[in-house]
């Protein structure tokens, strides 16, 4: 009973917050609603007894990724509304709705899953974090190390790309230009 209430509540809130992210004009609203949606998605993970995945989702997505976006906001002008010429909104919503309908029809079809056997079932008597660690560090050790290397490369490239000409701020330059234009007028 509680599971159903939680599921439907989280689904409505997640889809609503993500719709706000997709449809709003303000970047700050988009970012905060995206962070809220991520929190509710971690709620799904806790419902699915994937505790460690839920905690990782909270730490990495809501913590690290959102903090990175918030830092990047300082480079872009976040307070101004975005001006976009969105052409043919109806076509986009029609295509999105059709794809949503198609996915729903595919997913509510009965699943032929009788001959699917689980390769790594959760270990008896161990918690979720323990069994995840056992599988991750035995069967998935090489992908894990490759992921670590990928994160290192991403970190170095992020530092190099963003670190050039760090000493002059972009937004203050823009403000100075705007002020000069106003003085000329």
């Amino acid at each position: 009973m509680y599971e159903q209430i939680a599921f439907y509540l989280f689904s409505v809130l997640t889809i609503g917050l993500f719709l706000v992210t997709v449809l709003t004009k303000n970047i700050l609203y988009a970012m905060t609603s995206l962070a809220g949606g991520m929190v509710f998605i971690s709620g799904f993970f806790f419902l699915l007894e994937a505790d460690f995945l839920g905690v990782v989702q909270l730490i990495v997505y809501v913590g690290a990724v959102m903090a990175l976006y918030a830092f990047a906001m300082m480079f872009f002008d976040a307070t101004r509304d975005i001006k976009e010429n969105t052409t043919s909104n109806y076509l986009v919503f029609f295509l999105g709705g059709m794809i949503a309908l198609m996915l729903v029809i595919i997913f509510i079809a009965p699943i032929m899953g009788d001959n699917i056997q689980s390769m790594y079932p959760p270990i008896e008597g161990a918690g979720n974090a323990q069994s995840v660690g056992l599988v991750l560090f035995t069967k998935y050790l090489v992908p894990f190390e490759v992921a670590a290397l990928m994160l290192l490369v991403a970190m170095i490239s992020g530092i190099i790309l963003a670190g050039k000409k760090m000493d002059n701020s972009l937004t203050t330059q823009e403000d100075i230009i705007i002020e000069k234009e106003e003085i000329i007028k």
Binding site: V22, I41, F45, L68, G96, S118, A147, G158, L170
Partner: protein, 100 residues
């Protein structure tokens, strides 16, 4: 009773929301937000399959998706900052340098 189909349908709906964002937005930062939404939809589906088939492989793939998403954001935001320094805008229509 909440079954696997419920979670898969939810994942499909969240994915479609992200897809509408990718199709509709012209700002590069908003495109990044929409890709995050789509990656999260895949994560929900993986966790649900992992729970209902009693197999930890789905959670492993979700972990790797989170790692890929984190590095994608790091590199992508660096590129966006370089673009913004060069052109002063993140609007895709203004960034179009080739006419065709």
């Amino acid at each position: 009773m909440i079954g696997l189909s419920h979670y898969l349908v939810l994942s499909g709906l969240v994915f479609s929301v992200g897809l509408v964002g990718v199709l509709r937005r012209r700002n590069l930062l908003m495109l990044f937000f929409a890709t995050e939404i789509m990656l999260n939809a895949a994560n929900i589906a993986f966790a649900a399959v992992s729970y209902y088939y009693n197999d930890l492989t789905g959670q492993m793939f979700a972990f790797f998706i989170i790692a890929v998403a984190a590095s994608e954001v790091a590199v992508g935001l660096g590129l966006l900052i370089v673009l913004y320094k060069k052109f002063g805008t993140l609007n895709l229509d203004d960034l179009a340098s080739m006419k065709g």
